[in-house]
């Protein structure tokens, strides 16, 4: 086996692996990514019921209610538009009124967002950056001060 052949074999193997990798990545990117929206954007873009999205905003004060069992209902707001969310499961430690939250799930046909996972950030000094950015755009969030609803 000559040097050229060895090199060719290696290059072909590398190309094969790379093309498989690229194929998988393209396939996965199309199917697995989830967009991040605020309640306003969900209203504006009229997201079809059943589409998986991440919903971010603040948990509206006084909106948390237990529906019995392990179901909880709350309202997510970006101070302009509000969206009712139901979630069946255990809420994270830092989930509370007036704090940032990210819920992943899909809007239902009845306009209620059905979440299957809810995140509240570990460090309560920060709200999820995604949410903070969106809220900053809307001018209800000031750096270092938190939300001022």
């Amino acid at each position: 086996m000559t040097r050229k052949q060895t090199r060719l074999t290696i290059i072909l193997a590398a190309l094969a692996a790379a093309s498989v990798a690229v194929g998988l990545i393209l396939f996965a990117i199309r199917d697995t990514i989830v967009f991040f929206y605020t309640p306003s954007e969900i209203a504006e873009k009229s997201i079809k019921p059943g589409t998986r999205v991440r919903l971010g905003g603040l948990v509206e004060k006084g909106s948390i209610s237990k529906l019995g069992g392990t179901k909880t209902q709350f309202v997510v707001t970006d101070t302009e538009v509000t969206l009712k969310v139901v979630f069946d499961g255990q809420l994270p430690d830092l989930f509370r009124e007036g704090q940032g939250v990210v819920a992943e799930g899909s809007p239902g046909a009845d306009g209620i967002f059905v979440a299957d996972s809810v995140l509240a950030k570990h460090d309560e000094k920060y709200m999820p950056k995604d949410v903070a950015d969106k809220l900053k755009e809307k001018g209800v969030w000031q750096e270092g001060k938190g939300a001022t609803p």
């Binding site: 086996m1 692996a17 989830v34 237990k66 255990q90 430690d93 570990h122 995604d130």
Partner: protein, 659 residues
């Protein structure tokens, strides 16, 4: 006063690091002995100075000196001692100082134990190492100084984030940093070799122990982080494909590739250019990881910094080192002599496949990590790339890697006979298939891929045992000879067996846990029972809890298997002062075959508590496998051949085998 001394020591360290960068390099260029030798002194001096700075900050934490801003923001006088210590690196500024300390420690180790290195190579390695120190010292002094004082010191500190107050996490950053920063040595050796224009077997032998050390540290550091996430976050998972996790995983993947390709350079003199490139990439990914974690472009428990100037600073460091080294590589690499030939089916070929697969897998992780950031900065759209992406991309690339893993160590160098492989591994293949079939029969549910993945894990475990058996001649010679041979094997071959076997256990644990995990979320009142996976769990009620710096609530559960009581376990919710930050303490009953994992939730109505109970089959295998890999790495490191200080560059080959 001590704090100011620490600050001053850091400024002196910068001066020393500049000396260490410039003088030895110029000395190596001009061949001036004393200039080259000054690199050694500078590296040792730098360690002493950075250690002084670190000790000064540590002292400020231990004495709760709240006039130091960093201490006031991150410590609290009520905190237990261990967390006062770990608090030093539980924040952005302090963690960067730890980074520097470890960097200086590694540089000084090369200086102290590298007496056998050719003088010019050593001088250049220390010089490159010095330049990394300069960059990070500047960063710490200009953008992230932990020694800043407060004009108006508070009476009490703000406290360390309570979820970081945990023993596994206290030592997770030092290990992880040792791994990250250890790769800087491989990087410095690669750049020095490019400057010298010489890469040979001796070079590979010098680089390998450092890579092995970093790899071992990364392995245990990542494991500790994952273990912490498993039992402290209370989400029930061990790996979330979070960008911060990926940031530490990518250097691990490339370090693994580097570890394997350096074997080829050492043993066969081939793949030199590729190995140099990998050494550069491994450290570049460490820097990228530091950037991702420390720049504040992500928020997570790791991202302390929200100061854009810091992000920019690290980005510049990243650009200079990655761009500079790759440019040097492009200029110098073509001039390196290429090595020996080999057939596609050979040990070399196997190691090349290992590298190709690991690098493709790393590329998939890189794209999944950076794509959301890139998309956001280009289109402003926010997306999240979650576990499904990585399951589709990373998973399939691990399958061939596992398939090839037992083959690698059995293949012969230069050219191997496929027929010989079949002879050596048929029993292993049958055993692995039997395990897969047994799993398929025993479990009726779950995807068809799961038994296949488990069979692959078993293939790796049995394969590594088989390889050891082949080396020691089990079946061909008497048991006493086998034992004698086993004792006589180089430690690095135990390392290979353990690392490959550990990988197999880990994979089996990961697959079984992901596929057959059982979870129930329910509300329970006192004396309620739940049956899950053959266990009976009884809620025995709750009581208030008081700790040194927290209040809380603890629920008691009895776990029974059949009629046998296994454990009474507490699951807690703690509220840390100051700030009333809640954390979860998982009620965890661990077993070899599976864990029972209990998390308390809210009270949904008086006396009725929401509880999440999970059965995680074979979760322990994940940590066990990873720990075995770590010990494999350490054991290899003690190999006589690699022990730092032993290898010498052969001046002239004295004996050559007759052709």
């Amino acid at each position: 006063m001590i704090v100011e001394l620490g600050h001053f020591a850091l400024v002196l360290a910068l001066a020393v690091a500049i000396w260490q960068t410039v003088v030895p390099l110029y000395g190596a260029h001009r061949n001036v002995q004393s200039w080259m030798a000054s690199g050694t002194t500078a590296a040792l001096l730098q360690l002493a100075l950075v250690a002084m700075a670190f000790a000064a900050l540590l002292n400020a934490y231990l004495t709760s000196d709240f006039s130091v801003m960093n201490v006031a923001n991150n410590s609290h006088s009520l905190k237990p001692l261990i967390y006062k210590i770990s608090g030093v690196w539980g924040n952005h500024e302090g963690s960067m100082l730890l980074w520097l300390l470890i960097l200086a420690l590694f540089g000084a180790s090369v200086a102290a134990f590298g007496g056998h290195l050719p003088q010019s190579l050593k001088a250049r390695v220390l010089s490159v190492q010095g330049s990394i120190s300069v960059a990070f010292l500047l960063f710490v002094l200009l953008a992230s100084n932990p020694f800043l004082r407060l004009a108006d010191p508070p009476v009490e500190g703000a406290g360390l984030n309570p979820i970081l107050q945990d023993p596994a996490l206290a030592f997770h950053p030092p290990f992880l940093y040792a791994g990250y920063v250890g790769l800087s040595i491989s990087f410095s050796f690669a750049v020095a070799a490019l400057l010298e224009g010489k890469v040979d077997a001796a070079w590979a032998r010098w680089v390998r122990p450092w890579t092995l050390l970093s790899w071992s540290m990364l392995t245990i550091g990542i494991t500790m982080g994952s273990w912490w996430a498993y039992y402290e976050l209370g989400w029930g998972g061990f790996w979330f494909w979070d960008p911060v996790e990926n940031a530490s995983f990518m250097p691990w993947l490339v370090a693994t590739a580097l570890l394997h390709s350096a074997i080829v350079v050492e043993k066969r003199g081939a793949l030199k250019i590729w190995t140099i490139l990998l050494a550069i990439l491994a450290f570049s990914l460490s820097l990228l990881g530091t950037f991702i974690v420390r720049s504040g472009i992500l928020t997570s428990v790791h991202a302390f910094a929200v100061d854009p100037a810091r992000g920019l600073f690290i980005l510049i460091i990243l650009g200079v080192f990655v761009g500079g080294s790759l440019t040097l590589f492009a200029v110098r690499a073509p001039g390196l002599k290429t090595g020996a030939l080999f057939a596609p089916v050979s040990r070399e070929g196997g190691l090349v496949m290992n590298n190709i697969l690991l690098c493709s897998a790393c590329a998939a992780v890189l794209i999944g990590t950076l794509y959301p950031l890139a998309l956001e900065s280009v289109t402003g759209e926010k997306i999240s790339v979650g576990p499904p992406f990585f399951n589709y991309t990373f998973g399939p690339m691990m399958l061939p890697l596992l398939l090839l893993m037992p083959l690698g160590p059995i293949l012969t160098w230069k050219r191997a006979e496929p027929k010989g492989l079949v002879q050596k591994l048929w029993l292993v293949a049958i055993l692995a298939c039997a395990v897969g079939l047994a799993v398929m029969v025993a479990t009726q549910r779950g995807p068809w891929l799961a038994p296949f993945g488990i069979a692959l894990g078993a293939w790796a475990v049995f394969g590594s045992i088989r390889e050891m058996a082949l080396r020691t001649g089990v079946g061909n010679v008497s048991w006493s000879t086998v034992w004698a041979r086993f004792k006589g094997l180089p430690r690095s071959s135990y390392g290979t067996t353990l690392a490959h076997g550990g990988m197999g256990l880990l994979i089996m644990g990961v697959i079984i846990l992901s596929v057959w995990k059982e979870e129930r979320i329910l509300t329970m009142k006192q004396d309620d029972r739940l049956e899950i996976a053959g266990y009976t769990i009884t809620y025995l009620g709750e009581q208030a809890l008081k700790g040194a710096n927290f209040d809380g609530l603890s629920g008691k559960f009895r776990v029974e298997q059949g009629d046998r009581e296994i454990a009474n376990v507490l699951s807690e919710k703690r509220f840390f002062r100051p700030g009333n930050t809640p954390t979860t303490e998982v009620g965890l009953v661990q077993g070899m075959m599976g864990d029972v994992y209990i998390v308390m939730g809210d009270e949904s109505s008086p006396g009725l508590r929401s509880v999440r109970i999970t059965y995680n089959p074979m979760a322990s295998w994940i940590w066990l496998g990873a720990a075995i890999m770590f010990f494999g790495g350490l054991l290899s490191l003690t190999d006589r051949r690699l022990r730092i200080g032993v290898p010498k560059r052969a001046a002239v080959p004295v004996l050559q085998a007759a052709e």
